[in-house]
């Protein structure tokens, strides 16, 4: 037990006991009124839109009928040639892969490509797991159909969001995560990648996408 490398043993001794306790008191209660910033479930998509724009995420609210046209227009305007997509039921139902292919883009689907190939792709179009209205953030989870790299490696990330994806507060997000269990990786994205390291000059698009765009369905 006095093995110098036994760190847990050392921790116990530092805390004045010979072994770790079998149970501990509950951690401090979270006192929701103190930490909750979004109090109501009404108008979450509008709040998300406002906060996401403050984060320099582009947000275009639209009806599903105009999605195809707007999406293609957006990607063409940014001279995108190649696009990567997750293998997503939601995107497939919206016929995004077919429509993008027909519009002349080179489309690859995550579970039929390699990570290395993704480095040469111009843009990704993804769904989201949730968005958080409080912070204007997109939340994405890793799965076999939806790799971690999709929202990271291409320089343009486009996300298609439904109103039902919105949660109000970070508390709601982490309650949900606690209930559903962790995925291997969850990332909360609150804007385009940026740095202010050089004399506090803000530069966007460092190692992650320099452009993040949301199409918010009504």
């Amino acid at each position: 037990m006095n093995d110098p490398h036994n760190v847990i043993g050392k921790v116990s001794r530092s805390l004045g006991r010979s072994a770790p306790p079998a149970t501990v008191p509950d951690p401090p209660a979270l006192q929701e009124p103190l930490i909750r910033l979004v109090l109501s479930d009404i108008g979450l998509p509008a709040l998300f839109e406002k906060r996401a724009k403050e984060n320099k995420i582009g947000v275009t609210p639209l009806r599903v009928e105009s999605l195809h046209e707007e999406l293609i227009g957006y990607l063409k305007a940014r001279r995108v040639k190649s696009i990567a997509l997750p293998n997503s039921k939601f995107l497939n139902r919206l016929e995004i892969p077919r429509v993008l292919r027909e519009a002349g883009f080179i489309v690859s689907i995550w579970d039929q490509m390699t990570l290395d190939q993704l480095y040469d792709v111009d843009a990704s179009v993804t769904d989201v797991w949730r968005v958080v209205a409080e912070t204007g953030s997109l939340v994405l989870r890793a799965s076999p159909e939806h790799g971690r790299a999709l929202s990271l490696v291409p320089q343009i990330h486009v996300a298609i969001v439904e109103p039902k994806n919105c949660v109000g507060d970070l508390i709601d997000l982490f309650e949900l995560t606690t209930r559903e269990g962790s995925s291997s990786a969850t990332v909360i994205i609150s804007g385009p990648s940026k740095t202010a390291d050089i004399e506090m000059n803000l530069v966007t698009g460092v190692h992650g996408p320099g452009v993040v765009q949301v199409f918010l369905l009504k």
Binding site: P21, A185, G191, H207
Partner: protein, 486 residues
């Protein structure tokens, strides 16, 4: 044999590196040097004053920022009080998810564990994202010395690495550098024409590092938080390089201090609301990543092997002291640095320690020994701005005073200082001694003074007049004036 040879080269290179180490904090030298460096002061002010203002504004968004800081402090304190329990819980959960937890008692041990993982996984190319713990144990240098291709991928840390410099702030590592010097560095390093546009410089680093990401087989991260109930590591960053570390390479090592635990996933809602606001005046940092274990079945990115190295390196010493235990609550937001009038004047390098600023002046002596860093607790005006700023309410000024007390108690302060205090105590003991002392002081100073000012005090007061003149004392002492009045 080869192993020995490699080891001895590592030892030599590390020794060489240490030879160029920053000098230990020295009050006289620091105050003189920094008072002469206007440019440095301006650069620091530009960054930290802005972040400090941003923090103050952003905290106003919280319904009761004072009580939420108390809550955050309580959560961290609870975790520290039961740290052994939570470490066991965390370890079990990481293992359930296919990861491995290693405990390292100190820097040497951690390096050994990491080099072992590197060699048994036959790793060649390493990408490393920013982490203060790895600065603490100088991991990048050790890896470089071991002949590994290791690159710091946070822009600021990358610049520090290729310039063989040291970070001067725990959140914004290169605030001591201006864009001209970075441009010069890049033009030499990459062999390209000089261009000091920050966008161009960033773009140049991006292209270079993107290729490193693509080919890396090992990623290293730190961790801002560890969630005991799930075994997740949480990193918080603006650039996306920590995400790269946990996405592309097949092996992942997260090197984290044992004090970074929180019990519940839900605790993150408190911590994340405070961290970015306190650090840079943002609502949220751009990327908050929550990841645990290896990639799941069927996934084609993320690590196949995931290691969490939990390091003690002096932390259990602090834990053992009920008085100082709360200093381990620190979430490394840097708010106390930004708020500190001393940090703003002298900059991070002057502290001569990995952790600068108020929290550095506190934990460096606690983790590495008060003897070596006995001057550091004096690097504070005790104004309390750090305590006001701290999101987990560490009472930094109180602890700094206590450390000064420890220095005196252990009699490790300068002998001359002790002598002066003894003389002072003697003089204050009887009225006649006091009269004698003040007469002596007045007479001497008026003797060496010239035109109303003393330009150079004799030993041991020399430091005082090195950067300023001292007015001559008045002809009559206060007591004499008082006597005459009567």
């Amino acid at each position: 044999m080869l192993q020995q040879l490699v080891q001895s080269t590592i030892d030599r290179k590390v020794a060489e590196f240490h030879a160029h180490e920053l000098p230990k904090f020295n009050f006289d030298k620091v105050s003189v040097d920094s008072s002469r460096n206007e440019r440095l002061k301006r650069a620091i002010d530009n960054a930290v004053v802005r972040n400090d203002k941003g923090r103050q504004l952003k905290m106003l968004e919280l319904p009761d920022s004072d009580r939420i800081r108390t809550l955050a402090g309580d959560i961290k304190q609870h975790t520290l009080d039961y740290l052994d329990y939570y470490l066991i819980q965390f370890t079990a959960n990481v293992e359930k998810r296919g990861g491995q937890v290693h405990f390292a008692s100190d820097g040497e041990h951690a390096k050994q564990i990491i080099l072992d993982i590197v060699s048994s996984a036959s790793v060649k190319r390493i990408i490393k994202s920013k982490s203060m713990v790895s600065e603490e144990i100088e991991l990048a240098h050790v890896m470089e010395a071991a002949g590994l291709d290791v690159v710091e991928t946070d822009l600021g840390e990358f610049i520090v690495q290729i310039d063989h410099d040291k970070p001067s702030h725990i959140v914004t590592p290169i605030i001591h550098k201006d864009k001209e010097s970075i441009a010069k560095l890049f033009s030499e390093y990459f062999g390209t024409p000089y261009n000091d546009d920050p966008e161009a410089l960033t773009a140049q680093a991006r292209v270079y590092l993107r290729d490193k990401f693509r080919k890396a087989d090992l990623g290293m991260t730190g961790g801002n938080f560890l969630v005991a109930e799930t075994g997740d590591v949480v990193t918080v960053e603006n650039e996306g390089n920590a995400r790269q570390s946990m996405t592309t390479p097949r092996v992942l090592i997260s090197l984290v201090g044992i004090e970074k635990l929180v019990p519940r996933m839900l605790d993150l809602s408190v911590m994340l609301k405070l961290l970015a606001r306190s650090a840079t005046g943002q609502t949220m940092t751009i990327y908050s990543s929550v990841f645990g274990g290896t990639r799941s079945a069927g996934e084609t990115d993320g690590p196949e092997a995931a290691h969490v190295v939990l390091i003690d390196n002096g932390r259990t010493e602090i834990l053992a002291s009920e008085e100082y235990r709360e200093t381990l609550r620190c979430i490394r937001c840097g708010a106390c640095l930004n708020a500190c009038p001393i940090y703003r004047k002298i900059g991070g390098h002057s502290y001569g320690s990995v952790y600068p600023g108020p929290i550095g002046a506190l934990i460096t002596p606690l983790m590495q020994g008060l003897e070596q860093y006995k001057d550091l607790p004096n690097a504070s005006s005790l104004c309390g701005a750090c305590y006001e700023a701290c999101p987990v309410k560490i009472n930094i000024p109180k602890h700094l005073i206590n450390l000064r007390r420890d220095v005196v108690k252990r009699e490790i302060n300068h002998p001359v200082e002790r002598l002066i205090y003894r003389a002072y105590a003697w003089a204050m003991g009887r009225p006649w001694r006091y009269r004698l002392a003040s007469w002596g002081q007045k007479t001497t100073l008026r003797l060496i003074g010239h035109k109303g000012f003393v330009r150079r005090l004799p030993f041991p007061g020399g430091g005082w007049t090195q950067v300023r003149d001292m007015p001559e004392p008045a002809k009559k002492t206060f007591r004499q004036l008082w006597q005459n009045k009567k």
